[in-house]
């Protein structure tokens, strides 16, 4: 706006009298214009946030009935891949046997599952390093040195509880918010 400029160089020939009132008016006009300009930035910035239809898809339901122990499926939530794994007793035992002191991001398996559904490990399938999808959900894929997931992009190894054990990733695979609506239906988000 043109008003944003007009106080920088008050004409030199202005008389002494009334200078303060003049300056005040000009400063006020420019300040109000600046406030308007800043307020305009708000919609310009927020328009890039997720729109209402994207936010509305924030929860999904997954049917667990067909997943045998030892198997995992991939599904999507908020356009991100999700691993849902039915842990075998051996995998649970292996996870529980790991001392917390060995972990980069110490968490027990129990903290990463829900009570009464301790065999269901539900995590985002997004490596916490730089966002690749780790291997290990499908039959025959490389599950890494710790029998969980392995991210081929930069070599991060996750254990059977989806915890980071080796490689560059800083954190365990994230566990989304979810709730069991029945024994075989889980609502994520």
């Amino acid at each position: 706006m043109a008003t944003a400029e007009h106080i920088e160089n008050p004409p030199a020939e202005l008389g002494e009298g009334g200078v303060r009132r003049r300056d005040f008016l000009n400063i006020a006009a420019v300040s109000v214009a600046a406030v308007g300009g800043v307020a305009t930035l708000f919609p310009l910035i927020t328009q890039m946030s997720p729109s209402a239809d994207v936010l509305a898809l924030a929860s999904i339901e997954v049917d667990l009935a067909g997943i045998e122990p030892g198997q995992a499926i991939k599904t999507t939530w908020r356009k991100q891949p999700i691993f849902v794994r039915n842990l075998t007793p051996q995998e649970i035992a292996a996870a529980n046997a790991t001392p917390l002191a060995d972990l980069r991001d110490p968490q027990t398996l129990a903290e990463r599952t829900q009570e009464g559904h301790g065999n269901w490990l539900i995590t985002l399938a997004v490596c916490t390093h730089l966002g690749c999808v780790p291997l290990g959900a499908a039959e025959g894929e490389n599950r890494g040195e710790f029998g969980g997931y392995f991210c081929p992009c930069h070599g991060s190894h996750y254990d059977t509880a989806g915890r980071i054990r080796k490689g560059p990733a800083p954190l365990n695979l994230e566990v989304p918010e979810y709730a069991f609506t029945s024994d075989t239906i889980v609502k994520i988000g």
Binding site: M1, P11, S51, V54
Partner: protein
């Protein structure tokens, strides 16, 4: 450019001095729209509209970039993606309505700017190049506006694309091929939509480039003024900043209030209901018209109804293009040495007839092509061409202009006979004995 008394850029701050040595961009701005540009002191509010048109261009580019982030140029989803903007995108409705109504106010500003140029002889030497570049901007604006109107892919969008590209099929021999080439098909479709979107995004930046040339060309002779006489000395000018930046600030406020009223309370007033119906290639709306800013040209197009040597369709298209192209020759059609209409008593009469004539053409262009509207358009079109091609060259030869004031300062302090006859808002800035500078149009 510039007058010898123009202030020199003199940065005090060491960083600005460094900047001035390496890239004198602040100096450029200072000399273009800052204190370094001396401007006649008698400009009236009609001289606000260049800045307002520039502001409108900025608003269109900013809101357009936002809309492009959410819009999808595909025949199947374009319509729904616009509704997605209206319903789901944060503040999406605001940007869409600002963009749609901003386009209309852009044309309002441009038409008043052109009116100013026509009345005060801004197209005359030494400012012919300013006028020619302005017409280039106007043509680019029309192309941009038309392609933008196609993007929502409603009924008016589709049929507008069909009809406007149909102009080219009037060209003998190769017309139909050119039309098919423009559309990328035999009827408007996904290919058309995609290329129009691409060009609609490109052209505003071309316009911005031509605007820079337009301002550059203006700064060589300096701004004109309502008295139409040359600047004689320092007492005739004031620095652009702060005098005209302040005046433009006020103008900007009024412009934004109007834009806000349209956007928030009458967002669809200037639109067409049919454009909220998705494009349907099998059914044309009962009454198709372009947006209001094309109505005068639409009336000229439809005024030719009879085959005479050439087919009526070709006459209409030729005349429509001619009605704009003749403006490029205006500096050489009107050879009167007097610029301002204030001192041209006969020109002024014909000029106001022209204004009325264009308003009538606009009115007729928005109505269905039925009698008696077509006959009225024909009379109005006759006058339009006669005015520029026949009357203006003759008037400029036989007219005896009123005596011009000796200087701009004299025009302000002792308005001549011609000025007192000027219609409200057209005259000088101040009445005799009025100590306060009151803008034109505010006089009692």
């Amino acid at each position: 450019m510039s007058f010898p008394w123009a202030r020199q850029y003199d940065p005090k701050n060491p960083f600005m001095r460094w900047m001035d040595e390496k890239l004198p961009l602040p100096r450029l701005v200072y000399n273009a729209v800052g204190a370094g540009y001396p401007v006649p002191r008698n400009l009236n509010y009609f001289w606000n509209f260049g800045v307002l048109a520039g502001l409108a261009l900025v608003i269109q580019i900013v809101t357009g970039i936002v809309l492009a982030m959410h819009y999808a140029a595909s025949g199947d989803i374009a319509f729904n993606s616009v509704e997605h903007i209206m319903r789901d995108v944060n503040s999406g409705w605001l940007f869409r309505y600002l963009h749609a109504n901003g386009a209309s106010l852009f044309f309002v500003a441009i038409y008043i700017h052109m009116f100013r140029g026509l009345y005060y002889g801004s197209y005359k030497p030494p400012r012919e190049m300013v006028w020619l570049l302005g017409l280039v901007i106007y043509l680019l604006m029309m192309a941009t506006a038309f392609m933008g109107y196609v993007l929502p892919w409603g009924q008016m969008s589709f049929w507008g694309a069909q009809v406007i590209t149909g102009f080219f099929s009037a060209i003998p021999l190769v017309g139909e091929e050119i039309r098919v080439w423009l559309l990328g098909g035999y009827a408007p479709d996904g290919a058309t939509l995609n290329r129009f979107f691409s060009l609609h995004y490109l052209l505003p930046f071309v316009i911005a480039g031509v605007v820079i040339l337009h301002i550059w060309a203006l700064h060589i002779p300096g701004s004109g003024n309502p008295a139409g006489i040359d600047v004689k000395g320092e007492q005739d000018t004031v620095p652009f900043h702060p005098y005209y930046t302040a005046k433009d600030g006020f103008g900007v406020g009024i412009f934004l209030i109007l834009l806000a009223i349209m956007t928030f309370f009458l967002p669809n007033y200037l639109g067409h209901a049919d454009n909220y119906i998705p494009a349907n290639p099998l059914s044309t709306p009962a009454h198709i018209v372009p947006e209001w800013y094309f109505w005068p040209f639409y009336a000229i197009l439809r005024a030719f109804t009879v085959d005479l040597i050439l087919p009526a369709k070709l006459w209409g298209v030729l005349a429509m293009f001619a009605s704009i192209l003749l403006l490029f020759f205006l500096p050489w059609l009107d050879r009167s040495p007097v610029r301002s209409g204030n001192y041209r008593p006969q020109f002024r009469i014909w000029f106001w007839v022209l204004v009325l004539d264009v308003l009538i053409l606009g009115w007729m262009g928005g109505l269905p092509p039925e009698e008696p509207y077509v006959m009225i358009s024909q009379v109005a079109t006759i006058y339009y061409f006669a005015h520029f091609l026949i009357i203006l060259p003759i008037v400029s030869r036989i007219e005896r202009p009123l005596p011009l004031p000796n200087s701009i300062t004299e025009a302000i302090l002792r308005p001549g006979k011609g000025e007192q006859q000027a219609p409200p808002g057209m005259g000088s800035e101040h009445q005799p004995g009025d100590p306060e500078p009151r803008p034109a149009g505010q006089e009692a």
